[in-house]
Every structure is written in C-alpha cells, then in structure tokens.
Subunit: 350 residues, 3 copies
C-alpha cells in the first residue's frame, strides 16, 4: 500500500493548536521517539519520555500544547491538546485507507437465523453463519465466512476478519478486532479418569471478552468449565495463543505469540508475556509482572516482577545463572585441579 | 448458561439404588473428590480413591452400591451400580442442554458431491462442503462451514464444530468431537534436498482417528508419507497441537495444548504430555509415561516414567538439578574461596 | 491410498537413458539413500552422497547417466540425465493420483467481486470468497472455502487447500502450496503504550511470498507495519508456525512446526529451524545456520553455525554443558568434600 502524508496534510488532519519548525519529509509510518527515523511521525504520550524528544530523529512529533523545546532541522512539532488522542485520530485514518468500511447490511449469501438480532448499521459479509438468538451490535463488521454461534453477543464497532469462529454464548465487548481463524468458546480440556477411560467434564461456561481487545490469527480461547473465561478491556493478544478454560486476564495485558495459559490461571492488569511463554494452571500473575519469551511460569508471581527461564526464576538471577552455566566446563576442570592439588598436599610429610 | 440441579432432580435423573444423607445445595458442576467444593458433584470411579471420600467437600457423591461410609453434614451419597456410568449419564444431560442436537438433514446451502453418502440421521449444517465418495455416519453433526474431502469417512455420533477441515481420505471413528479449526490430513513435512532445492516427497498416506477421540481448536494432524498417521481410541488432544506425519498415538493418551510431536514418533497407551512439550521424531514413548509442560523429549522413554526439562531428564533428577542450578552463584564463590585457601596453604612453610 | 509402481512402470514413466540390474519389488515410496528399505525408490541428487549408493537398500535408485557402480541383488539402477528432475517427475505423478486436478472454472457457490481477475484455467472451488481487484493466476486451484482479500495477487499453479485466508494486498508467487487454515496478512502485533493504554500502530504493509513455497496448516504470517513481510523462493514452512511483521526469510529455508519468529528478524538463505524454536525480533540469522528444536535465538547468528538451548549457545557447547549439568549433584558433593578436607588440613599442626 502506498501511504504518504505531507506535513500540510497532517496539519489539516490533526488541527494542532500550534506548530513549530517544519519538514519537507513525506510521512510514512509511526515510531517511538527513540526508534523513529526521518520520514516517521512520533509522539510524546507519557511525560516520562520527555527527555527523548530532543534526540528523536522523527520528522514530525506530536507534543502537548505546553511543551517548550525547539525542533531540529527539518523537523516539525505539532502542539496538540492530547498527543495520544491525536495519534489515535491519525491511526484511524491510516487504517481506514487500508480497510475501507464495507457498506452496512447482510450479504445475500450469509445464513442468518431468524431469531438473530443484527443492527442495521452492522455488516455481515459473504458466507457468514449466524445462529439463533445471536446479537451483532452497531457498526460491527463480519468480513466473510465468520461463524457466530447460538446466543453469542457482539458489541459495537467490532471487526472480525474472515474465518473467525465464536461458539455458543460467547460475549464480546465493543471495538474488538479478531483476526482470521480466531476461535472463541471451544470446549475446555477437562476429563475425569475412571476405569481407564477419560470421561469428559461438560464445559458449560462461556468466553467473555472486554472492550478494545485485539486477538491475533488462529488464537484459541476455551469456554469455562463453569462460569467464564475472561479477557479484560484493552488487552492485546497475538497469534496462535492458547488460553485455557476459566483463565481470567486483566486489563491492558500484552500476550505475545504462541503463549499458552493453562486452566484457571489469573493474570492481573498490565501483565506482559513474551512469545512461547507458558503459564501453569491455578496460579496468579501479579499486576504489571513480565515474563521473557519461552519462560515457564509454574508459580504465583508478585506484581511488578520480571521472570525468565523454564522453570522461571527472577530475570536477573536467571541471567546470572545463564552466564555461570557457560562456565561449567571451567568449573569442573578447576575443581578437578583443586582435588588433585589437595591430594598432593595431603601426601606431603609434615 | 444457567445450569442447576437440585438433589431431587439428580435422583430423578440417575435413579440410584439407594441414597444416604441429603443436601440443600444446588449442584452446579463436577469435580474430583479432593478438589470438590460445596455445590459440586463428585464420584468414586476408581477404588483407589476410596480414602478421599471421607474428606471430600462435594455436596453429592456418586458411589458404588456396596460403599459403606456415611455422608457428612449437608452431603448426599447416591449409591449406584456404576458411578462412572452414572457420571456419563449426567454429563450427557449437561451437554445436551448447551448443545441441543440440531435436526437431521442437510442444510440447503451445503455443497454435497453426488457420490457422497450421508446417513439420513446425520446433520450437515450451513455452508459445509462434502466432496466425492465421502461417507458421513449416523447421527454425526457437522455444525457449519465444515470441509470433508474426497473419500473421507466419518463414523457415528461425531460432532464437528464450525470450520473443521478434513483432507482427502481421512478416516474418523465413532463419537469423535472436533473443535473449530481442526485440520486433519494436511500434508506431512517431508522433502529431499537436491541441488540446493527442497523437493517435496509426496504425502500420500492418510490420517486415521479411533473412537471417542476429542481434538481441540486449531490442532493439526498431518497425513502420512505413506500408510497412516494414527490416533488411538479414547485419546484426548487439546488446542493448537501439532502431530506430524506417520505418528502413531495409542489409546487413552492426554496431549495438552501446543504440544508438538515430530514425524514417525510412537506414543503407547496412556501417555500424558504437558503443554508445549515437544517430541522428536522416530522415537517411542512407553505406556503410561508422562512429561511435564515444555519438556523436550529427544530419546526413547520407558513405560511408566516421568520426564521434565529440555532436553528431558527423569523428573526427580531434573527437579534436583534445577534446585542446584540456583545455587551456582554460591558454588562458584565457594570454589574461588577454596582455591585461594589452597594456594595460601601451599605457600606456607612446612 | 493404494499406490504401487512396478519397475516396468517406472521405466515407462521416467524413460531412463539406461538401466542396470532389476527388481521384482513393488515400489511404494521414496526415501533418502541411507534410510531406504526394500520397496523404496531412492536417488543420487548430490554427488557428495555417492558413497551411500553402494550401501542403500532401495529397490530402485535414480542415478546420473555417468554413474559407474553396479546394483545389488534385486536392485535396479535407472541412469538418467538429471536424477533430481526425474524425481520431480515421479513426485508430480504421485501427487496427481491423490489430488486430481479439478476442472477449471468457478464454482457457482463462490462469491467473486466483479473487479477480480481470475484466469480461465484457474479453479475456484465451492464457497470461496474473492474480493475486489484480486488476481488469481493460471492453473491455480482454490480448493474450497478460501478467502482472497482485496487486491491480493496469486501466481500460477498455486494450490490452496480449504479454509486458507489471505488478507488484503497479500502477494503470492508461482507454484505455492498453502495447507488448510493458513492465514497470510493478519495484522502485525504493534502498539504504542500511552496513558496506560495500548494504541494500535496501523499495520499497513503486506505479506509477499516467493515461488515454490509450501506453508503448513494453520500457520500465520503477519503483514508488515510498513513495507513487507517476505518469504523467499523455495522456503518450506511447517504447521502452526508464527511469522511476525516485517520478518524477511531468504530462499530455501526449512522452518519446522510451531516455530515463532518475532518482528523484523531476518533469516538468510538455507536457514533451518527445528520445531518450537523461537527467534527474537530485530536480529539476523546467517546463511545456512541451523537451530535445534526448542532453541531460543536471542542473538544475531553467524552463517553456517548450529545452535541449541534457550537462550541459545553453539550446539557443541550446549551439548557439553547439558552433560555437565547432569553431574551437578556430584560436583556439589565433591566441593563439599574438598572444603571439609581443606578445613581439616588447615587445622593440622605444622
């Protein structure tokens, strides 16, 4: 996709209170202050990054109206009431260019149960299936070949890509974006073993997703055994993640690709899990705790802590042990030498 | 879903030979004897758990008719011929409430090859595709948007959720439950490398699934290079599992989420693999062997053993090494101290 | 599937320049020289394997026309201009038997935008959706229930199995084989965190796939934040792999199942990643480098090197450390003994 904004177009779009400096660059993408290159737009969303503004190479920077620094050469400052809000405006514009909203209405090839309720402003694309008593909220778009099971309820402004599957009674909030192949509400993995066979425990709960959640391609979230599996507002989940039954995830968490979260685990708000990390069942990860990629979390984790390794240890300790581990060949040799010297010493006459 | 049974309703459903005690609790779920809480139903399916009956907090317990203990306060014993069978009866009732069986017949939007054979008691939901020579057995339900490839054969009482894909010649037994997005019969990953390119080895075998198997959402099982990839009766497989070509899995195994099993591995009966475990190709895991989550199995494993770590070691050894590993900083310091003391000692006059 | 060739049928199919020896075996599959069993066909595609010909148990061996060895008993040599080309001819024949090419044309149940361009020799199966401005090349087959997003372009001779999803503007080369459930072009996982919320960075790039690529079931490849996520010609990718935004993969790589590659990583040509390996973002893996299963690559890797462990170390070093690691209980005991003996020695009068 060819996307390009001039400084003038940005000013027209974002209507800043004031501008400082100027740039001839064509703006092509958005980056954090410290990562930005010429041609990028950046922004100061959090005052703690203020020292990074002076060094940023971004061609355009969104700043709060009371910001008092000066731009570099060929750099434009846009002073706005709320840089984060301005950024969101720009993002919405960029996405609209790539994903133009389809017309409201139901494609004639979609199969819709009579008892389903579909807001007139929603879009139901080709070959979707919507079962009895399902509810689709205002302006929600089901792209194509989406399945919405019996009595599922979807809020406003959702965007479900092709091949999304929502099982019976799944509930999804507002402004939720589900990528292709997402499955919500598949049965949890629960059996009682008796007489050498595994007898299925009915999984009769549901999946409930808060507002402003995004879920990546082919991720699966299982329905609860009883009650609900829950994902809190603002949480972002990457591709091929597995979330087991009765897991409760807080607000604004970041769950990277291929993470697995076992049944009945709890993640408090702002937890960050690196790719391929695994979480054992029935434990709690405290607010703001983080885990590196491939970490195996098998213990309850305190808020704000950072973990690494499988099984996990505090990040700094694990890093230190990993360094020492590489020195094991030396250590074994050194201990052998010491043992030989000690034996020699003991043999000496006194 | 609001689900609730009174003691009286349970008695009416399960028709026990006798009852002992009583409870006013509303029964909402099923749990193992040691995990059960008030409001739960539990059961004694295996005599070895008999000692756990006295301590269980379950409000209702299914017991064999000759059980001689007494219930606690507000606890009801139901004495039945076969507690496991009674449990299965209850489970079937619970699931039927959530997943009412759709009417038999073929939805007019489904695309069915003329040479396909579909039992009149089967249900083929909207927008399914069934190719030539496929066979769908009695009472099997294809929920919606399911694909059944050429000459695939499915037994009786199957339940395939939306978006399941079965490639050409896949064979599935009776009472098999496949969750949304399952792929059976995709090509195995096999190439011969010649002159700097990877030449595909045709994958002309098939996938064969036994009876009473359940497979979780978005799991994939590859067809054999030749002959068959096989999953034995009663085995349960969780979400996002990968089973490579020519793998043979025995009966009543438990394969947790995101496990990967490489080509031509063999799992004997009752193997249990924890989440994210990996199994290398061309090896055998003996009957009843277990592996913890994230284990990397790169060796043939004897029956009944328990493994952990990557690469795997016997569970107890791996646990012990993980404890010692945390003491490496101390060990390095201690060896340095010893070396210094020894040098000092050697310097002393004798 | 029953597949069987006699020696005579193979000769008729491959028209060798000459034959040597003979076999009564029925040929059923293809194997590497060192793995082949009676009943297998093998081949000498690379001169460096010439010493393996004498010991191979294959019933038929494809060899270059100037090969001068003699076959064993009941073994047939087929001398051809190019063994790799002959193998490819045979493979094409085997696959054609299992996957007969459907008739060209568009199934009446497919939903095709008017502005899409579909070559008359292509096949669009039942219940596919093709959006505006998409292009489907000659002889490409979309099996069933495939989604091709707006302005996506697919080359010649592609074969997309059921339930493949290509998002807007995805580009795919010639002779690409995508298995069921593959998702190309889902949004990359990128957010800027501001005021306690994660603001989505629009993912406005695309996915571009070279020629002769094969991608396994339910694998996902994310579109770039800007520019492109790229997979080079001849690369083979297994099931349930996750490839993040802006990743660049070279030619003829092998990516095994459940691998995860984080955003902006670069793989040069001929890289091989074992199952469940993970690659951190923004690093480069040099040409021909390899990683064992479950490896965690968190560093730039030189060409031709081999890695293992999480975090990764050179393979030989990691193997050695894993051996020493098992001896940690002994080492701790030995150091305790040494310390005790040293203390004793220091107590002695001199």
């Amino acid at each position: 996709m060819t996307l390009a904004f001039s400084a003038a177009e940005l000013i027209a779009l974002l209507t800043p209170r004031a501008t400082r400096g100027g740039t001839t660059a064509t703006l092509r993408t958005i980056a954090a202050l410290k990562d930005a290159q010429p041609g990028d737009l950046s922004f100061l969303g959090n005052p703690k990054y203020k020292p990074e503004v002076a060094a940023t190479r971004a061609s355009v920077v969104l700043l709060p109206a009371d910001f008092d620094g000066e731009p570099a050469t060929d750099q434009l400052f846009l002073l706005v009431d709320n840089p984060s809000a301005a950024l969101a405006t720009l993002c919405a514009r960029l996405e609209a260019a790539l994903w133009p909203r389809p017309a409201a209405g139901i494609h004639p090839s979609a199969i819709i149960a009579r008892s389903a309720t579909i807001d007139p402003s929603a879009t139901v694309g080709p070959l979707c299936v919507i079962e009895d008593d399902a509810v689709i909220g205002p302006r929600t778009v089901l792209q194509a070949q989406v399945f919405i099971g019996r009595a599922a309820r979807i809020g406003t402004d959702g965007w479900f890509m092709s091949g999304v599957h929502l099982a019976t009674e799944t509930v999804v909030g507002d402004r939720v974006r589900l990528h292709a192949g997402v499955v919500l509400g598949s049965d949890g993995f629960g059996y009682e073993s008796a007489t050498g066979r595994h007898i299925k425990i009915p999984q009769i709960g549901q999946v409930v997703i808060g507002d402003d959640v995004e879920i990546g391609a082919n991720t699966t979230i299982d329905r609860a055994r009883f009650s609900r599996t829950y994902v809190g507002t603002g949480t972002k989940i990457d591709n091929l993640v597995m979330i087991g039954h009765n897991v409760v995830i807080g607000r604004h968490c970041i769950i990277c690709a291929q993470v697995g979260i076992s049944g009945s685990a709890t993640l408090e708000d702002y937890v960050v899990l690196g790719g391929q990390a695994g979480v054992a069942g029935h434990l709690t990860i405290g607010k703001g705790a983080k885990a590196d990629g491939q970490t195996g979390i098998n213990t309850t984790v305190a808020p704000g802590t950072f973990w690494k390794g499988s099984p996990c240890l505090p990040y700094q300790l694990e890093q230190r042990i990993n360094v020492l581990r590489q020195r094991l060949p030396d250590l074994f040799r050194k201990v052998d030498t010491i043992a030989a010297e000690l034996a020699e010493l003991k043999r000496l006459p006194r």
